[in-house]
């Protein structure tokens, strides 16, 4: 399994880097905004506000799932294009293990990106205690929603990459995915929305597992 995980990391390292960089840029923007907020000097005109941090995080809630879709799509599209599974599955492994390694790597990259944001926000709270007026429960809800939205988006990317479908259909699927995500977000960052997204992710991964394990190679 370790070798399979390394194989997946080797292939999607660049996308992981992209995802982490995007997250880093967003957090840097939030940090700079927070830094310039006149916490101590009320005579300085405000450049940023705690609300901007929330806005940045809400933007990240859309950006992270989109990049997750690209990550999943690249993982399986690369596989299908280069017959990776067709070769590796003839060695001492199974397709189930290969898919598990892929999901572990994808999941870890997504979780690591979100964890990076959590760390950055925590650091900002530590540096600027006056940010605390922002309700911490809202931030937690945003992070959980971000993760809950990223997982089905990632699964959708995996499904799209493995299915031999045209670009137009991919765009339609992406649009549909966006509509679902927005609809769920409108339900609010509440457990009901998270459960809906988790069920969506599990359903797509289940379908992919069936196709991946049984499809002729």
């Amino acid at each position: 399994m370790r070798k399979l995980v390394l194989m997946e990391l080797d292939r999607v390292g660049l996308v992981a880097l992209l995802l982490l960089t995007a997250v880093g840029l967003l957090m840097a923007f939030a940090a700079v905004t927070g830094f310039y907020y006149p916490w101590h000097d009320s005579s300085r005109p405000p450049v940023g506000s705690p609300e901007e941090l929330v806005v940045v995080l809400l933007v990240a809630t859309v950006v992270v799932p989109l990049i997750s879709t690209v990550l999943g799509w690249l993982q399986t599209d690369y596989d299908r294009r280069w017959n990776l599974t067709a070769y590796v599955s003839t060695r001492a492994t199974t397709r189930g293990r290969m898919l598990a390694a892929r999901l572990i790597v994808g999941g870890l990259i997504i979780v690591a990106s979100i964890a990076l944001m959590v760390l950055a926000v925590a650091a900002m709270f530590h540096a600027f205690p006056r940010l605390l007026p922002v309700d911490a429960t809202i931030l937690v809800a945003i992070f959980v929603t971000m993760l809950a939205a990223a997982l089905p988006a990632y699964a959708a990317g995996l499904v799209m990459g493995w299915s031999q479908i045209g670009r137009l259909r991919i765009l339609v699927l992406l649009g549909l995915l966006l509509v679902i995500l927005l609809a769920v977000l409108m339900m609010g960052s509440r457990p009901r929305a998270w459960i809906t997204l988790a069920v969506l992710a599990v359903a797509m991964i289940g379908w992919l597992h069936h196709r991946y394990v049984h499809q002729p190679l």
Binding site: R2, K3, L4, L6, M7, D10, W82, N83, L84, A86, Y87, V88, S89, T90, R91, A92, T93, T94, R97, H214, P216, L217
Partner: protein, 299 residues
């Protein structure tokens, strides 16, 4: 009785309504070098892909090392070496990384033997697979399949793309592998001289059916080509079973018969030929007779 390493039980495969495999029953005993022959599209690759779990049968089942080929565990796969048709590898990978992956996945890895193969074939570890020539890809594929010390080696047209010298090296390697205890090789090839050289059992697929499945020597004994000369025009129809091919030219008849025995010989003599001689047949001759589109016959 030798253990059966590969077994097909009533394998049927349809592709888009076309029957590619039509009730294949096959047993490959341990320690056997089984040569699978057939014309293009006869179903050799489909059969091998089903055995390797890359294709599902429409009906029937295939057993590899005693387990259903569709549900082989990682440990069972580790006991099988496989070279796919066309030397399928991952083109964008470096050779070194591919080797490291295969080594990492394999439960057993003969580093000394692999090193020997790499130096024999002069394989560059720092190049990408797509930068290798077809022959080098074939050699790398063979080296990776053989390094895992497989109990069963499945090779789908392994010498495709190899020059004569490399083919000779491969055959010697195959013999080297088989000489280790209990190793079995199942391979398909278009080069019948290769099959004749190393196989001790052959199967010939004709139109999705296994027309021939017997030891090579028995096949050579059982299929007989005769040149019969008659005093007048030869009979148009012979009341003889298992005629593979019959050609008449003037007073001469060329007759290929399967399952040849003394009863058939005695019966043939009742037609009164003035001369009857045996035409020597190589495996290639037998193959061509058996797979002739006019008269495919089971041997």
């Amino acid at each position: 009785m030798a253990k059966i390493v590969v077994e097909a039980q009533g394998l049927v495969k349809f592709y888009e309504g076309r029957c590619v495999l039509d009730g294949i029953d096959l047993k490959v005993p341990q320690g056997c070098i089984y040569g699978l022959l057939g014309r293009n599209g006869a179903g050799k690759t489909t059969l091998i892909r089903i055995l390797m779990g890359q294709e599902t049968p429409t009906r029937g089942q295939a057993l590899v090392l005693g387990a259903n080929s569709q549900r082989l565990s990682a440990a069972q796969r580790g006991r099988v070496g496989y070279v796919a048709e066309g030397h399928q590898l991952v083109p964008s990978w470096r050779v070194g990384w591919l080797v490291s992956l295969c080594r990492g996945l394999a439960p057993r890895w003969d580093e000394r033997f692999f090193g020997h193969l790499v130096s024999t074939f002069k394989l560059p570890m720092d190049r990408k697979v797509k930068q290798l020539s077809t022959g080098m890809r074939a050699q790398l594929n063979l080296a990776l399949a053989m390094a895992v010390e497989p109990e069963l080696l499945v090779l789908d047209d392994p010498t495709l793309g190899l020059d004569t010298a490399a083919r000779r090296e491969f055959l010697e390697l195959a013999i080297d592998v088989i000489q280790r205890d209990g190793r079995t090789i199942l391979f398909s090839s278009h080069i019948l001289s290769d099959v004749e050289r190393i196989a001790d059992r052959v199967g010939i697929l004709v139109g999705g059916r296994l027309a021939v499945d017997c030891p090579l020597e028995a096949l050579k004994r059982r299929v007989r080509k005769l040149r019969l000369v008659f005093a007048e025009t030869p009979p148009q129809r012979l009341a003889l079973t298992d005629i593979v091919r019959q050609e008449v030219q003037g007073r001469e008849m060329l007759l290929t018969v399967a399952d040849w025995d003394e009863h058939k010989q005695a019966y043939l003599e009742t037609y009164g030929p003035i001369n009857c001689s045996v035409v020597p047949m190589s495996l290639e001759d037998i193959f061509l007779e058996c797979t002739s589109r006019r008269t495919p016959v089971a041997v």
